[in-house]
């Protein structure tokens, strides 16, 4: 099996928190998602702005219900029913291969995902083919009556293209021609993908039904499905939450490995700070649909700016000699999403609360330090 050459040399810049030399893949600009429910309007995502570059891992963290998963689904235009994108843009820098057409690899065009038809042809090519997603519940993410191979075949026959021939080798950019895979090739790819995600005896496991696989194996199959189409980005929505810790470590290893070889971006959604620290280059912290802080991973963990991020980091239990201190927790409760506090949404729980300011002025999204953004009045004049 031949694997497509990686698109451009620039895409292989060394991974690191502050490298901005890589090409942009996704630009989320002031994204707003609202759910119009009986009791009123819930602003599930309110003014989210971040970039994902090719090959980069961006972590999105926050408590349950803070809008992480909705953001992921907004990118794929799969927001569940009463939810709607009410503002902002999701700019996707699309670089695609076409079956039967001759495509120069560096050809990139930008489309705004918020304006495409959510049931249309374009978004269906992107879903699974260019942006793949894995989910929180590996136990029920595979259709019970189809084998692992059937699932992979479905994605591969829809999206995977194989190079047929190379035209004009002498040119600076190679012009490639692609075709869809055949049934036999799809099965080969399925076996190969199962092997790559570390499933033992892949030639047999390809014919296993989901109930014959363990939770960890099912999540590996989900990853195999997602990566079988060589997507430009993988959205991982709490992919290890339902798994035990040793399996979690294996799954994360697989994802890191495959990302390195395939130069794929990952949007990693989690509430587990330990996991995100080992995975992400850049982190976006969300609270009640708002993005409260964004920084490189080292910067964020060693020098958090927003009081919410600080509190979140303090509430992680640490190994070490007994200190006698109680584990820190964040004061108060998550507010009712229908009746958000005025001013800064975090002010009722904030240890750095400034009366008369925080409860009245809505903080702006501002650069608190170079390449370190926060939404907090502490960093405003």
């Amino acid at each position: 099996m031949q694997i497509n050459p990686s698109p451009t040399p620039t895409a292989q810049a060394p991974a690191g928190p502050a490298t901005d030399t890589r090409e942009t893949l996704i630009e989320v600009r002031d994204l707003k998602v609202e759910f119009n429910i009986r009791g009123g309007v819930v602003k599930a995502v309110d003014g989210l702005t971040f970039d994902i570059k090719r090959g980069q891992t961006v972590g999105i963290i926050g408590e349950s219900g803070c809008g992480k998963s909705v953001t992921a689904r907004a990118i794929l235009r799969m927001i569940p029913k009463p939810g709607k994108i009410t503002g902002g843009n999701i700019l996707y820098h699309r670089r695609r291969r076409l079956a039967g057409h001759q495509t120069a690899p560096a050809e990139t065009n930008v489309i705004d995902l918020t304006t495409v038809d959510p049931d249309g042809e374009t978004i269906r090519q992107i879903r699974g083919g260019e942006i793949a997603m894995i989910f929180q519940e590996p136990m029920s993410s595979l259709t019970p009556v189809y084998t692992a191979g059937t699932h992979i075949n479905e994605a591969v026959t829809l999206h995977r293209l194989l190079p047929v021939k190379t035209l004009g080798d002498q040119m600076a950019d190679k012009i490639m021609q692609y075709r869809h895979v055949t049934r036999e090739e799809a099965r080969d790819i399925a076996v190969q993908m199962l092997r790559r995600v570390g499933i033992p005896k892949p030639e047999q496991r390809v014919d296993s039904y989901p109930h014959q696989l363990s939770g960890g194996q099912r999540q590996r199959v989900m990853i195999a499905i997602a990566l079988s189409t060589e997507p430009a980005m993988l959205i991982a929505d709490e992919p290890t939450t339902a798994l035990d810790v040793s399996i979690e470590a294996q799954i994360l290893d697989i994802m890191r490995d495959l990302q390195r070889t395939a130069n794929m971006a990952i949007m990693f959604i989690t509430h587990n700070l330990g996991v995100i620290a080992s995975m992400a280059d850049e982190i976006v912290v969300m609270y009640m649909g708002k993005q409260v802080e964004r920084a490189g991973v080292v910067d964020l963990f060693y020098n958090p700016k927003h009081p919410y991020t600080k509190a979140l980091l303090q509430s992680v239990p640490k190994l070490g000699p007994k200190t006698g201190q109680r584990l820190a927790s964040i004061e108060g409760m998550v507010p009712d999403p229908l009746h958000l506090p005025t001013g800064c949404v975090f002010h009722p729980r904030c240890p750095a609360f400034m009366p008369g300011k925080c409860d009245q002025i809505v903080p702006r999204w501002a650069e608190a330090a170079p390449n370190h953004w926060a939404r907090c009045l502490l960093y405003e004049e």
Partner: protein, 328 residues
């Protein structure tokens, strides 16, 4: 697998014997027998020789023998294919049922095909477009179908067909074809009549199926594997039919087995009575009322066999479509 089949068939045989015995006993329960009714009739007509006639009949049918002996006689003859004789018709049971079996099967198949061909798409539509005007309309109609007994619908349709459209809706044949030999024209005549009872039974049967299909599918559409299938870039139609309906339809297979196979024998008796159809249903109901025990008993035994076969077939089908319940 073979072991499983043998065990299931074994249990089924025991069940048939028990049901035949219990039903035989229950038919016996009301005071008197078929002949006491007959005596009453003859007396009412002033027939002097009634008592004497009845005595000879009683001897002929063995009604003077004790209950157990009669049951064993009937049961052992049953195994040889002799189902006894009907008192009412004074003909062998096998002849009476045999003449009607064909039509009953045709009607059962027509009803089933119509019911399922309508119910599944309607249920799927109803679930996929939940709370849309179409869903609301389907829900209203299916609740009416659920709530209205088939015979009432049959009466209403008969009324409109005869008074408004001047159509002949009862029976399965027009009078001129009733006793005619089989021909192409007769088959066409049968088809022309068949759709009315099939539709009536279907409307009453569809209601429940639509609701079950809708509910199951709504549950399934909320499952993570449906979202995952969509995230692979499949078309909505593929996601719905290949991933969601495929799972949601499983419980209906059980209903298919326990519903369709028994209806091959008895079908909807009340509709058949109202529409004067030559199926087994009306004969069965009549035989129970008249204590025509061998006829009634035979119907019940075949009904039981069909129910058991239906369940077995449904279980095998279910194992075939759903790998989770396959026996390793």
């Amino acid at each position: 697998m073979v072991n499983y089949l043998i065990r299931r068939v074994g249990y089924a045989l025991i069940m048939v014997v028990l049901v035949s015995f219990v039903s035989f006993a229950i038919i016996e329960l009301p005071p008197g027998d078929f002949l006491t009714q007959k005596v009453e009739q003859l007396r009412a007509r002033g027939d002097r020789s009634a008592e004497q006639q009845v005595e000879t009949l009683r001897l002929r049918y063995g009604l003077d023998k004790p209950f157990l002996e009669r049951y064993f006689n009937w049961a052992s003859n049953f195994l040889r294919g002799d189902f006894g004789e009907s008192f009412e018709f004074e003909r062998p049971v096998s002849e009476i049922l045999g003449a009607r079996l064909g039509y009953t099967v045709i009607l059962a198949i027509a009803t089933t095909v119509l019911t399922w061909a309508l119910a599944i798409p309607l249920g799927v539509y109803s679930a996929v477009k939940q709370y849309s005007p179409g869903d609301q309309a389907i829900s209203v109609v299916s609740f009416i179908g659920l709530g209205m007994p088939g015979f009432l619908l049959a009466l209403i349709i008969m009324y409109f067909a005869i008074i408004v459209f001047n159509l002949e809706v009862t029976g399965l044949f027009s009078p001129e074809f009733q006793d005619a030999p089989w021909s192409f024209a007769k088959v066409m005549d049968l088809l022309g009549h068949l759709w009315i009872p099939a539709l009536i039974s279907a409307v009453t049967g569809i209601g429940g199926l639509v609701r079950i299909m809708r509910g199951n599918l709504l549950d399934t559409l909320g499952q993570p594997f449906v979202e995952a299938a969509r995230a692979r870039g499949l078309k909505n139609r593929t996601v719905t039919w290949k991933h969601a309906v495929r799972i949601a339809i499983n419980p209906l297979i059980t209903i298919l087995g326990s519903d369709v196979f028994p209806s091959i024998i008895v079908g909807s008796s009340l509709v058949a009575i109202v529409l004067n159809l030559p199926t087994i249903g009306p004969v069965f109901v009549d035989s129970l009322r008249k204590l025509d025990m061998y006829l009634a008993g035979t119907c019940i035994v075949f009904l039981t066999i069909m129910l058991l076969v239906g369940n077995l077939v449904a279980d095998l089908l279910l194992a075939w479509v759903d790998p989770r319940i396959r026996l390793e």
